[in-house]
């Protein structure tokens, strides 16, 4: 018997939810971004190895700048590529 509870998704339940982006550095109190940790920095670049914009990552301006510096340092030390494809 299909009761009222069984009728679940007449519309996308995620629409209207408050899935606001946030700055993970502010939220989790990360103060220092290590340029020697490419596995962490890979989250902030696209598959071509380019930096993702703040509008995608949700980083605050302060930490986006630090991410950018860390990624550039990692590139200099050949821990991350300058140009590539299918990075992720």
């Amino acid at each position: 018997m299909a009761s009222r509870d069984d009728i679940k998704f007449l519309s996308n339940p995620n629409i209207g939810k408050d899935n606001k982006k946030y700055c993970r550095f502010k939220k989790f109190g990360i103060k220092h971004i290590d340029y020697k940790d490419p596995d962490f920095l890979i989250q902030f670049v696209n598959p071509q190895g380019k930096l993702l914009p703040r509008r995608i990552t949700g980083n605050s301006l302060k930490y986006q700048k630090k991410v950018a510096v860390a990624v550039k340092r990692a590139r200099h030390l050949a821990m991350m590529p300058y140009v590539t494809d299918l990075l992720k």
């Binding site: 290590d34 020697k36 821990m79 590529p81």
Partner: protein, 218 residues
């Protein structure tokens, strides 16, 4: 006292002991300038993200030191630049957060979190999770529900009553209410005993895991 960190890449084609002597030579250089070496991080041979001087890998070393004056930096960088065995180097001044981060990392405070996350699935896999979906009427979703409800093996399922299973199912939402677990302990009992042939004959009788109303219990 300012704290600096010099990371450099040594040519991997050198013989093993020469790589060590190169690294030691730069440690000496820093020490002779009256600096206090905090830590030497030997990151070892790593794959490069792009080739440098036709090399695809390099030996990474990182020296972290405190210095009263910045005079050592220019000397150090000049020496690194002149050295053909060094492929790349980078000097970074550490702020207070950087100093704290590095000390935390040495003490295992950072990078511990992913370890504990990876620890828990290892523990779970230690307890035998058997494929509950073999039982007629249980799909992968219900199997997951049962696992979270503490039922991981056939013997556990066989021991639990159909009412107990029903309460576990009801936690998964109203859509699981339609499932009838009355025969599941019986099936699980056979599976736990390894009587696969008997289980198959029983499964053929059952329709969707429910005892047909015409035939009574065996």
């Amino acid at each position: 006292m300012k704290q600096y960190e010099i990371t450099f890449i040594i040519d991997p084609v050198l013989p093993g002991d020469e790589i060590q002597t190169v690294a030691k030579a730069y440690e000496k250089l820093v020490e002779n300038e009256g600096c206090n070496i905090v830590h030497v991080d030997d990151m070892g041979l790593r794959q490069l993200a792009y080739p440098i001087n036709k090399r695809n890998s390099g030996v990474y070393k990182s020296i972290e030191f405190q210095t009263p004056s910045g005079a050592v930096i220019s000397k150090m960088e000049l020496a690194l630049r002149r050295d053909e065995r060094i492929m790349r180097f980078l000097t970074v001044k550490l702020d207070k957060y950087g100093v704290k981060y590095n000390s935390d990392k040495r003490n295992g405070l950072i990078g511990k979190k992913p370890k504990t996350i990876s620890d828990t699935p290892v523990e779970e896999s230690k307890a035998p999770i058997e494929d509950l979906t073999i039982i007629e009427g249980i799909g992968p979703k219900i199997a997951k529900l049962l696992n979270t409800g503490g039922i991981n093996s056939y013997s556990q399922l066989a021991a639990s009553s159909s009412e107990a299973i029903k309460t576990i199912l009801s936690k998964g939402g109203p859509s699981y209410m339609v499932h009838d677990p009355s025969t599941w302990p019986q099936q699980a009992d056979l599976a736990a005993a390894g009587k696969w042939a008997e289980l198959n004959t029983l499964k053929e009788k059952l329709i969707g895991g429910i005892q047909p109303s015409s035939s009574e219990e065996e």
